[in-house]
Symmetry: C2
Subunit: 405 residues, 2 copies
């Protein structure tokens, strides 16, 4: 469950704002690129690797389910122990349409891939713990990996957190602090500085996040490729765009290494109530701020994007897709009626595909479903009506539901 | 995602009450063995196979994560499509102690392995749907696989169902009928008969369940073996004993086929508030009835056992372990603090190991963790106290929690 950190071929951090700017691998830059960032836009950094030394057989065969360690050469050093993250199944929804079900991860979301990398950074830096601003999956995942590594975890949540998520976070021993939403980023930064905790979520005005985190998402691309080759398109639920970027980078690496001769188009699926990435792309900006209206998709309702998302969409020839809550709920129902109960935000991938009926795809398409239905606000709010155990009552209820027709 | 049902080597059903009694493979016997059962004890049946035709390479290498289809020769015909069930990771908790994390399944519990088989039986029989009595994981899993196969699903729940589980069941389109607990078994039988639905849970006085279901659990043994060989012991959360039986049968098959030269001891981990299997073993009976006292482990608090559990413990040289809620909660906390948030009932495997400190094991041990922490009654009942965003308040809360010590 642990991998020799020396297995990593990571060499440096490179600015996404100006790829000519390189920084040493350590310490991880948790506030983006210090040189190219401006007062208006913070540019993230990414990790660079000694690609010429990637083992020739790294992408051979179908990978066993052994956690991200399988891909250690192309990840930051995995100094923290794993939890069997990744290796999630592709479920065929219909001809040529696949769902990558990330709810099969240790904390039942894609975030486990990211946090294996961020908590590894904390361990490698000798930090006593991590701090994260999150209302959900990110926080719980960071808490789980921190607990597994014997580190503390502080989670700054918003006061509107679904109650089940609060239990979820505390189960792992995290210290949960509900604070007003606008206070989360500055407090994350201050707690990190004061207590020496590694910040594993964003602390800058436009989104940068942790330098190492999105590297973990590359493994989704590796896994999809191992089963399908490069699909024609991947539809990705999009908040700050780290998942989108990681999947795009993974395919770009496969292309660079000669493992595939094409990369999929990436479709960034955002709630129409917000949609900062769509706004940034429309305006030709690296990042945009938007007001977020009412949406039940709390996991991806963001007021600002990160430049990573812009790069991922542009470099893959993809595009943004804005989705109403009605479209998201319809996709959630479609998934559940195929046996996959996804969080509403997680259903954005399939909703995006359904919204692109005008697109023609030259090959299979993959919709990423990021998380489990247990994490939505509405869970447990309604109760099925009890029925009298008398046969006529039971039979009547079943007939009314269309059983036996 | 589907496998040619002809890939199955299943040949017949055989009575566990009298192994000389064999029945044709079809129709599946959903009320146990009609000949050996008495008014007091219903004996289950199991599936027999043409073991002499098992492909020589079936157990070679580490299996890819492709659902139960990987093991089709030793399963009943898989006529229903899968959801990428099984292939769950073994997480090392400490030296020689592994957790088989079944919360990574499509509906986040082990029951998905069983219901791939039961819903396949319904499809093969041409039934329009399935009916199941369940307060949780079994029902949701049946609902998911039925939805995937285009069948209807009726779930008879108890009125004390945790509210999140109600949402969970209905998400898949199941018809959910809360009824008094004692009415569930007779109603399951009557609904099955009247509407032609396949019953996928028990309908007899002592537990028999569906003939094909426990076959799915054998794959847990195959997977453990592929990673560890045969461990010294497996600790299994035990309700009616189907999981225990399936794991035992899987290892017995590996032994019979010459793939392993030993089988693990099976420890049946039951809540002390009930414990019908422990009672049956103590009294030398095939099945026992007990009163179930108060326990939070609602998933495994059973008033009667099935004969399968007796056979599994006896044939493996194992034993029952009775666990208090205090022991279960301690194991749940231990798992969560290692990054695995399990349902309380699911924590019984680790609790069982911890309760057996006097046992010496000649090799690794595996604790099966059957399900996710999201499914417990207490989830969402408590809220973290909001904190003022002022630095002194935040710093104080963190210091009080031991951060920065």
């Amino acid at each position: 469950m642990t991998t020799d950190p020396a297995a990593s071929l990571a060499t440096a951090q490179r600015s996404l704002g100006d790829p000519a700017l390189r920084y040493p691998l350590w310490p991880p830059l948790t506030s983006g690129c210090p040189k190219s960032s401006t007062d208006e836009v913070a540019y993230p950094v990414e990790v660079d690797y000694a690609y010429e030394h990637v083992p020739a057989d790294l992408f051979d065969g179908r990978p066993p389910r052994t956690g991200l360690d399988r891909w250690a050469p192309l990840l930051p050093p995995l100094a923290a122990p794993g939890l069997g993250e990744g290796g999630t199944p592709l479920v065929e929804l219909g001809p040529g349409v696949f769902v990558k079900d990330e709810s099969r991860n240790p904390t039942w979301s894609h975030k486990d891939r990211l946090n294996r990398c961020t908590v590894s950074a904390a361990v490698a830096c000798g930090a006593p713990g991590v701090v994260v601003a999150s209302s959900g999956n990110h926080g719980a995942s960071a808490a789980a990996f921190a607990a597994r590594a014997g580190l503390r975890c502080v989670v700054l949540t918003s006061t509107g957190l679904p109650q089940a998520m609060d239990t979820f976070l505390r189960a792992y021993g995290a210290v949960v602090l509900p604070v007003p939403t606008e206070a989360r980023w500055p407090l994350t930064r201050r707690i990190a500085e004061h207590f020496g905790l590694q910040p594993v979520s964003n602390v800058t005005r436009t989104h940068t996040g942790h330098a190492f985190g999105p590297e973990g998402y590359k493994t989704i691309a590796y896994e999809i490729h191992a089963e399908l080759g490069a699909p024609a398109a991947v539809f990705v639920p999009t908040g700050y765009g780290e998942l989108l970027f990681g999947i795009g980078k993974g395919f770009a690496e496969l292309h660079r290494l000669g493992v595939t001769d094409r990369v999929p188009r990436l479709f960034a699926c955002e709630p129409a109530a917000g949609g900062p990435l769509a706004a940034a792309l429309r305006q030709g900006l690296p990042a945009a701020h938007v007001d977020v209206g009412a949406t039940d998709a709390y996991g991806i309702g963001c007021s600002v994007n990160g430049y990573r998302g812009v790069l991922a969409v542009r470099n893959s020839g993809g595009r943004p897709v804005l989705l109403t809550d009605e479209q998201l709920h319809a996709a959630q129902t479609e998934l559940a009626h195929a046996g996959l109960w996804a969080e509403l935000s997680a259903s954005a991938g399939l909703a995006g595909l359904r919204a692109c009926a005008d697109e023609a795809f030259d090959g299979p398409v993959v919709c990423v479903s990021t998380s489990s239905g247990f994490k939505d606000r509405g869970v447990g709010k309604e109760r099925s009506e009890p029925v009298s155990p008398e046969w006529t009552a039971v039979r009547g209820r079943l007939r009314a539901a269309g059983i036996g027709e």
